[in-house]
Each structure stands twice: as structure tokens, then as C-alpha cells.
């Protein structure tokens, strides 16, 4: 049956996946047609009917890069939510088409580093069987819409953002007007007052909250971003009604598409346009475009939102019972479990439930890497304990969103047996790192080895607890895929006449108090950088006052003292 003749109602899925939008036959037909297009393109490339210059944009439209050692396939995880079947499909790709690993990124994507061009279509078929794809994970288009890893579960959440993330996903996928923007374009959306999506460092960041008549309104941040020119986004609207969400997004994109610079790749992001015009003028142009649009055509009626919402499966929570008492007793009896619960869990809105974070940062490990076996285990645990649903985080960890408190000890034991029980979330060893020069064709320096050295240096859990919350992010080049600018302690790899060196930044934050880390001074060799970080931590421990995080102490004390211990050690 063709996509033209099948109605959505006829094609509706019988069983809805929990936490994400259920594909129907129309979606699946579209993916199959897309794969057949790409199969033909790959065949023509191999036969020589397409040059590499002609083929490159076609493979990038399907998430296929050529990196240092091989092709790399980037797969989108819309709003970070995955079903167990999807995770098993990712494990299969890691096992059959890669070297046994997948790498979770800061954009809630997963990357495979050793894909063969001749296997790519088969890998895309495995993805499609699980309602996944790699479309728009590259190119100057709207990329994967990211969201809060605790969406629909967090106790502090005002509104589940995933339905609107899905509306934005459907609007932006293959949008004919925004397929060739001046540069890539990144959205993030949250429904919590606590910014867990780095909204202020996105091209557009949306924070949803309940508005009048029970419908959501959105605060709209525009023009944030990291990279060569790090900027905190400006708040363009505080009260965008749900019905105008798509029209207003379209107005912003139109202004950007019309005026964004295409003559200079380094000045092409919307953040440069917003700065060049000034917030008021940019807002004026957006409002002018918005006013001129046929708003009725874009209006999101409540019925549409509810129809999309109806395509999401919801967890069937069990009564609370004595789950909390069982958890309290398990914690009392097992101090290692208690330590893990303190760091790796998050309060759930449903009584008797809890969200848990699986750290992909074991001592000395590679941040964000998961083996095929670990992926299969996570899928099994999701099926047994979390309604078959998982989430990936922008901090390169995995979340099981809805676990009964009385089953948490069992889940932790199973995770620990697979090397996934590390109790370090938000600690100094919960390091974010891009693939860096070990894989990436754009990088200037390796990110992973310095992350591993720091992780080993601070592996002692007591020491980590003593240091407390401290975010370290590492990027292997100025493109800042490791979000180093947004870290309390950031590390940037640079190229010094063909050799790797590292710069330290201090004072960044990606949350509500968003700030850009300040460069401390000249770049150093890798081992010197690790030693310098240790001295920075020592200074913090000496200078901190009651209850201060590293970031608080840095902001109070100022840069000079920290600079002294890095560049003039006693």
C-alpha cells in the first residue's frame, strides 16, 4: 500500500511503545523508500557513476561520515527515548557491522565508528525494523530534537516535553524549506524549571510550562551555542502559546534562512545573526514574519496535540505498596548500594518509583561507550523493570526511567555484574568527552585518553564524594562537541604545530545559571594538564566554604588563585 492511499487511522499501531511515538505503516513505508533510494546511491557510487563529491552530501543525509579510520554512522534517538527492541537493534549493529561498541554522544545520538560503506544499507535496514533511522544526523538542517532524560518521570517536571518534541520532529523532518540552512540547527526542549537540556546553549531552546486553560506555553531561547564563538542564548519570548509553537519556530527559521551568513562557515550559525542584528532587531524581524504568516495553517489545535499524545504508550504504574520501605531497608543493609542510590537516582513523580542513571563512565573507561553485550543487558533490564523504555542523556549516560523502588537493589546488582554499577553521576569522574582525535577527522587532539587518566586519578569513591558535584567536559577541537565551555572545568584539545596540547577553562555551566568557561591560560601537554587539574581540585578543597560546589568556590574566589596553582605551582 502506498503512502498516498493509506490513512493514518488505518495504519495506527496496535501496541504503543512506552515513552515515545508509535510508528505506523506510513512511517515504515517512508523509511523503506528512503533506504531503497540510498541503496541505489551507494551502488552508483561503488560503480563510479557518482563521484565522491556528488556522493558525500547524499551519504551525510543518511548520517554516514568518513572519519579517520573508517566510515562512522550516526543514529538519531529522538528526544533521547529508546525502546528495548531499539536498543537490541543497536546492539546488533555494534556486533555485526562494527567492532562490538556503540558510542553515545552529547546530542542523544549513538555513533558506530567502524561501519563499511558496503554494509551501510543493511545497517539502516536493521534500524528501520526497529523504527529508527539516521536521517538528519548530519548536514545543514534541523538535527535531532533533544530533551530531558527524566521527561515524564521527574518529580520536579511541570510538563512532559516529549509530545511537543515529537511535533517538532515531525515538522522538521525533511522540511523542504529548512533542508539547506546556512548551518546545522539544534533544538532542545524541557518541561522542568531545572534546565537539564542545556537549553541556553542551543540554536533554539524551549522550556515548557503549563499556561492558561491548561495548555502549555514556552519560553524561547535563541542563539545560544558553543564552538568557536560560545554564546548564551537570549530569551526571545517567555509566553509562546502552544498553538503558535510551529508558526513561531518557522518564523525564526525563516529569518535565519534569509539572513544567516553563507559566505563564512564560522559566522553561519544563528547565534552570529542574533548578535549581529541585536536581540531587539532579531525579535522584531521574527515578529514581523510571524505576523505575516498564515497562522491558521500552522496552528496546533489541542485536538492535534492529544492525537499525537495518544500515539505514546504510558507506563501502567503499580500501587506504591511498601516499595519505599523495602528500598530504605536495602540501603541500610548494603553501603555500596546506598552510595549508588545517593548519586545515580532521581526522584520520580509516581509514588513507589524512581529513575536511575546507568553511568557509562567506569574508572578509566571511555565516556559514552557501551558494548553490544551491555546494550543487550540494558534492553533486558528495561523490559523487566522499566516498561521496556530507556533514555540516553546529553551527559553520555543511560537512564531507566521508571523502576519500582523495591526492585532497585536487584537492578543495581545486575548492572554491577556487567560493569555498569559505577556510583559517580555528577562527580568528577562523570566526564563528558567527544571522540576526539582517536576517531574524528576534525579534531586536533585526543579527548578520551585524558578523560581516562583523570577518571583513574580520581577513581577513589570517597575522594569523589569529598569533592562533590563537579562537571568536567573535554573537547578535542574548537567545535566543542564535548561541551567544554559549559563545564565547571573544561578541557579543550588544541594543535600546537602538529602536536596535541590542552587548554583549561573554568566556570562554565549549562544549567539555569548558564555561563561560559573562561580560558585559564596557555595550553599544556596531556600529563601536565592532569596534574594541573589535581592542583585545581586541591585548591578548591582548601578554599571552599560550607556547602560550596567547585563552581561556587571558583565564582567567589575568582580566576587568579586558580591560575596561580596551574601555572606557578609551589
Amino acid at each position: 500500500m502506498s503512502t498516498e492511499t493509506m490513512t493514518r487511522a488505518e495504519a495506527a499501531p496496535a501496541v504503543l511503545p512506552v515513552g515515545r511515538y508509535g510508528y505506523d505503516q506510513v512511517d515504515r513505508t517512508f523509511l523503506r523508500e528512503r533506504i531503497e533510494q540510498f541503496r541505489d546511491q551507494v551502488n552508483r557510487r561503488i560503480a563510479g557513476d557518482l563521484t565522491e563529491e556528488e556522493f558525500k552530501p547524499l551519504r551525510l543525509m543518511n548520517g554516514l561520515y568518513l572519519q579517520l579510520h573508517a566510515y562512522m554512522l550516526r543514529v538519531a534517538v529522538p528526544y533521547g527515548t529508546l525502546g528495548s527492541k531499539q536498543v537490541r537493534a543497536l546492539a546488533r549493529i555494534a556486533r555485526e557491522f562494527d567492532k562490538g561498541y556503540g558510542h553515545f554522544t552529547t546530542r542523544q545520538n549513538i555513533q558506530f565508528n567502524w561501519i563499511k560503506l558496503e554494509d551501510t544499507v543493511a545497517a539502516l535496514e536493521v534500524l528501520a525494523e526497529a523504527d529508527m533511522h539516521a536521517i538528519q544526523t548530519s548536514g545543514n538542517c534541523i538535527r535531532n530534537i533533544t530533551s530531558d532524560e527524566f521527561a515524564g518521570a521527574a518529580k520536579d517536571e511541570l510538563l512532559d516535553p516529549r509530545v511537543h518534541a515529537e511535533i517538532l520532529r515531525q515538522w522538521s523532518t525533511l522540511h523542504p524549506e529548512f533542508t539547506f540552512l546556512p548551518r546545522k540547527f539544534k533544538f532542545a526542549i524541557s518541561g522542568s524549571p531545572h534546565d537539564r537540556v542545556v537549553a541556553r546553549f542551543h540554536d533554539i531552546g524551549l522550556i515548557a510550562r503549563p499556561g492558561p486553560h491548561g495548555r502549555p506555553v514556552f519560553e524561547v531561547f535563541v542563539g545560544g551555542g558553543l564552538g568557536r564563538t560560545p554564546l548564551v542564548g537570549v530569551s526571545l519570548r517567555d509566553d509562546l502559546p502552544e498553538e503558535d509553537l510551529l508558526a513561531y519556530m518557522e518564523a525564526i527559521l525563516r529569518v535565519y534562512n534569509a539572513h544567516g551568513r553563507r559566505d563564512n562557515i564560522y559566522k553561519a550559525r544563528i547565534k552570529i545573526l542574533v548578535q549581529a542584528l541585536g536581540t531587539d532587531e532579531f525579535r522584531r524581524q521574527v515578529e514581523e514574519e510571524f505576523a505575516a504568516m498564515d497562522r491558521a495553517r500552522y496552528r496546533i489545535e489541542p485536538a492535534l496535540v492529544e492525537a499525537i499524545k495518544a500515539r505514546f504508550g504510558a507506563p501502567d504504574f503499580a500501587p506504591e505498596g511498601n516499595a519505599a520501605a523495602v528500598l530504605a531497608e536495602d540501603r541500610r543493609r548494603d553501603v555500596r548500594f546506598d552510595a549508588w542510590v545517593r548519586t545515580n537516582t532521581h526522584e520520580h513523580k509516581a509514588p513507589g518509583y524512581i529513575s536511575l542513571v546507568v553511568s557509562l563512565k567506569p574508572a578509566g573507561g571511555i565516556p559514552g561507550d557501551a558494548t553490544a553485550e551491555q546494550l543487550d543487558l540494558l534492553a533486558d533490564l528495561a523490559d523487566e523493570f522499566s516498561f521496556g523504555e530507556l533514555r540516553v542523556t546529553h551527559l553520555q549516560n543511560v537512564v531507566l526511567g521508571h523502576v519500582r523502588q523495591d526492585q532497585l537493589h536487584t537492578v543495581w546488582q545486575r548492572l554491577s555484574q556487567a560493569g555498569l554499577g559505577t556510583a559517580n553521576v555528577n562527580f568528577i569522574t562523570d566526564i563528558v568527552a567527544c571522540p576526539g582525535l582517536d576517531y574524528c577527522a576534525l579534531a586536533n587532539a585526543r579527548s578520551i585518553p585524558i578523560a581516562q587518566k583523570l577518571s583513574s586519578r580520581f577513581a577513589d569513591l570517597e575522594l569523589q564524594r569529598e569533592i562533590g558535584d563537579l562537571r568536567i567536559n573535554i573537547s578535542g577541537c574548537i567545535n566543542a562537541c564535548g561541551h567544554h565551555h559549559a563545564a565547571h572545568l573544561g578541557i579543550l584539545g588544541v594543535d600546537k604545530r602538529g602536536q596535541e596540547a590542552f587548554q583549561i577553562t573554568l566556570g562554565g555551566s549549562g544549567e539555569e545559571d548558564a555561563s561560559i568557561g573562561q580560558i585559564l591560560g596557555p595550553a599544556m601537554a596531556e600529563d601536565e594538564t592532569v596534574d594541573a587539574v589535581a592542583r585545581l581540585i586541591d585548591l578548591y578543597l582548601v578554599r571552599r566554604e560550607n556547602g560550596e560546589r567547585f563552581l561556587d568556590t571558583y565564582r567567589r574566589v575568582g580566576t587568579a588563585a586558580f591560575k596561580d596553582v596551574v601555572y606557578a605551582p609551589a
Binding site: 565522491e52 579517520l68 579510520h69 566510515y71 558496503e118 582525535l437
Partner: protein, 105 residues
């Protein structure tokens, strides 16, 4: 030419490299014109000759089943092996440092 490989001393020597079209794996040109996965099997040419050789090879990339042919300046290491002068090309030659088991050597 990749901009980060554009560090070519007039009196130095370079090897020719590319990625294979079918699997993307890094390869290096040997003296007999074949393409090897190990840089140790490649043969350096003087930097005065490398540009001429590159332009003739780049025209044959499709026929050779290769993508992105370019030159990489190398030097002799103390153990007598040839080693690229830049970190980037050393990692490309010897594999990701974080997974030594993935090294082609």
C-alpha cells in the same frame, strides 16, 4: 590536501595515503603501487616529488577504489620505522590509541 597535513618541509619525505571506498579503512601506498593497511609497508617519496605523484593518483581514485588521496610527511623513528610528523597522522596510521586491539599493526 587536508589542511593539517600541509606541513611539508622542502627537504623532507612523505608517504601517500587514502581511505578505501568500500570500507573506509586507511591505506598507504607501497613501492609497487599497491595499497597496504600498514604504514610500515609504505614507501616514502621526497617532498619535491610528492605533489606530482599525488595529482596523477588523485585522477585515478575511483579506478583504485579509494577516497581522499593525500600526502603525509614522515620521519624516521629511533627504531627505524617511518612515523608521521603530526599527531593526527600518527593516530591515523597506528589506530585509535584507546583501543590498541584495533590497530592495523
Amino acid at each position: 590536501m587536508d589542511i593539517r597535513s600541509n606541513r611539508r618541509d622542502a627537504d623532507g619525505q612523505s608517504v601517500i595515503t587514502a581511505n578505501r571506498l568500500l570500507d573506509g579503512i586507511t591505506v598507504w601506498r607501497a613501492a609497487d603501487g599497491s595499497w597496504k593497511e600498514r604504514i610500515t609497508e609504505s614507501t616514502p617519496v621526497s617532498n619535491t616529488e610528492v605533489e606530482g605523484l599525488l595529482s596523477s593518483l588523485q585522477g585515478k581514485a575511483q579506478e583504485l577504489g579509494l577516497v581522499g588521496i593525500y600526502g603525509v610527511q614522515v620521519q624516521d623513528s629511533p627504531d627505524g620505522r617511518i612515523v608521521p610528523v603530526t599527531s593526527r597522522e600518527r593516530i591515523r596510521a597506528f589506530g585509535p590509541s584507546v583501543h590498541p586491539e584495533f590497530s592495523p599493526l
